[in-house]
């Protein structure tokens, strides 16, 4: 090959000046050329999963496992049905705070403002964290419902409604707090709110008719309202993030 090139070049007249200009242009292009990468959704999920504090994902798993353990112990008691559901609902209502804490952590320490100026915007980071936390919570709720159904010999859908409703209704409260409060330490606000919600759902122990067949429609209605309110809150939050004032607020 080299010989062939050399033979071909013999007849060529190379303009030294033009050659230098062309080489300078090429080296300038090489220096200044930017490689642009657009990460896929999978990569974005991976980045958050890799860099975020894992406790927020681990806590719901540990809590669901603990709750199932306690419920299993109590299920040995004869005639305990409402008690088991109430206890599980109460625990799962508390479990929702970890998702809210994970999202609020983005805005702590003024990190949100910095992330808002990145290619991967803070609104996307919030969405990705909510997806991750939603996936973990969703799986845990399904596992709890499936196991409880076996112990109680109830329909899966019914058990799912009884524990999903407290979870979503409580999340509406947590995200409302997140939207309207700018406290120095949101962690304690969420812990307090979680405790209040857990206690409220335990009150149902004193209202046995709440779990009667005829009340299932009311539970489903509450679930639907919670879903609508929650979606509304998420849209409001993402809108506020895009406007920017929420990102620039003094969280601490």
């Amino acid at each position: 090959m080299e010989k062939e090139f050399a033979a071909l070049q013999k007849g060529l007249l190379i303009d030294g000046k033009k050659r230098a200009v062309a080489l300078a242009r090429i080296s300038k292009e090489v220096r200044e050329k930017k490689i642009r990468v657009t990460p896929s959704l999978g990569h974005r999920l991976y980045v958050q999963l890799h860099y975020m504090e894992k406790w927020y994902l681990l806590f719901p798993v540990l809590m669901a496992a603990g709750l199932l353990g306690v419920v299993k112990l109590l299920s040995r008691q004869e005639g305990w049905r409402i008690e088991l559901i109430s206890l599980l609902s109460s625990g799962i209502a508390f479990m929702g705070i970890f998702g809210a804490i994970s999202v609020s952590r983005i805005f702590a320490n003024h990190m949100g403002e910095l992330e808002a100026a990145c290619f991967f915007h803070v609104g996307e980071i919030v969405a990705v964290r909510m997806i991750l936390s939603g996936l973990i919570n969703g799986v845990m709720i399904c596992v709890c419902a499936f196991i409880l159904r076996g112990w109680m010999r109830e329909e899966l859908l019914k058990v799912l409604v009884y524990i999903l409703t407290p979870f979503l209704a409580s999340n509406c409260l947590y995200f409302a707090l997140f939207l309207f409060l700018r406290e120095k330490n949101m962690l304690f606000v969420f812990l307090a709110a979680g405790a209040v919600c857990a206690c409220l759902w335990l009150i149902l122990l004193c209202v046995p008719w709440a779990y009667e067949e005829g009340m299932l429609a009311a539970w489903m209605l509450l679930l639907l309202v919670s879903v609508i309110v929650f979606i509304g809150e998420v849209c409001l939050m993402l809108g506020q993030i895009r406007e920017g004032e929420m990102v620039c607020s003094h969280w601490n």
Partner: protein, 294 residues
């Protein structure tokens, strides 16, 4: 050529106008933004970074609306906020790698770029320490490093030298000067000397408006004949200090040497001298406001 154009940019909060209808065209170079606290500098920078939505007006980058460009605009952007954000328990290197991922740097470049910047800001030795253990100066240096991760074409720095010691400030100024070729660098600061040394153009902002802009020479030219130096006895010096804006005051034995910024000659023996940027700052932010003493 890279351009950033602000058209009647306005931002109102509930009962306050932070930026009022500001128009400006920026081309490649270093711009120094000077203004008192509450002048609207940070709000302006946030709008330029597409973090805060303007109430009205627009920002155009090479003729395109930055709001519509979204990620493609932020890809060109490096930003150091006034209150630098970080996760306290993260280690410095991991933090830079995280931000490099958020800035969509190609994965194969992240390691080299992180190391290069950690070395540049002299934090390589402490790269595996948690950020919460860092001093104010180290945090600022880390902030500067993260702003330069994506080799930005538009670099916006809000109070970049706050908390840096004189040696670090000089080093920072040199970094910015060498970095600014073919880019737009906008830095907001209270430290007049930083702007004096590295800015090609100076922007003076007051109550949400741009009251003056130009090169150092153009800004100081505007107050030629308004800077005086004189020597006075103790009581007279005190009186002058109360009456006029004094940019420098120095004791010389039993007398006091004063540098005064005033439209009128403050005393018979006063000599008119060459103005500098500090005098100009004092002139536009105190004398023009009708405040005598500084």
């Amino acid at each position: 050529m890279l351009t950033l154009e602000l058209n009647h940019l306005r931002k109102e909060f509930k009962n306050k106008v932070a930026v009022s209808g500001l128009s400006l065209k920026m081309e490649e170079g270093v711009y120094g933004l000077l203004g008192a606290n509450g002048a609207g500098k940070t709000t302006l920078l946030r709008m330029l970074c597409d973090i805060l939505k303007p109430t009205s007006g627009s920002v155009l980058c090479n003729g395109a609306q930055i709001r519509e460009m979204g990620g493609e605009y932020r890809r060109m952007l490096g930003y150091l906020p006034q209150e630098f954000g970080y996760y306290p328990d993260m280690k410095a290197e991991r933090y830079l790698r995280y931000l490099a991922e958020l800035k969509a740097l190609p994965p194969e470049l992240i390691g080299d770029k992180t190391e290069e910047l950690l070395r540049m800001v002299e934090l390589y030795e402490v790269r595996n320490k948690k950020i919460k253990t860092f001093s104010g100066g180290m945090l600022r240096r880390l902030g500067i490093a993260q702003a330069m991760l994506n080799d930005p074409e538009i670099l916006i720095l809000d109070e970049p030298t706050a908390g840096l010691d004189p040696k670090e400030r000089i080093r920072f100024r040199n970094i910015i000067s060498s970095f600014s070729r073919n880019r737009i660098v906008l830095l907001s600061t209270h430290i007049v000397s930083d702007v004096e040394y590295i800015a090609d153009r100076i922007l003076l902002m007051k109550q949400g408006e741009l009251i003056r802009q130009g090169t150092l020479g153009q800004i100081t030219e505007g107050i030629r004949g308004c800077v005086w130096e004189c020597v006075a006895q103790g009581a007279q010096a005190e009186e002058l200090n109360e009456r006029y804006a004094v940019s420098n005051l120095r004791n010389c034995g039993d007398k006091v040497s004063l540098r005064i910024v005033a439209e009128e000659k403050p005393m018979q023996e006063a000599l008119c001298v060459e103005p500098n940027l500090e005098d100009a700052y004092l002139y536009y932010f105190t004398v023009k406001e009708g405040v005598g003493a500084y």
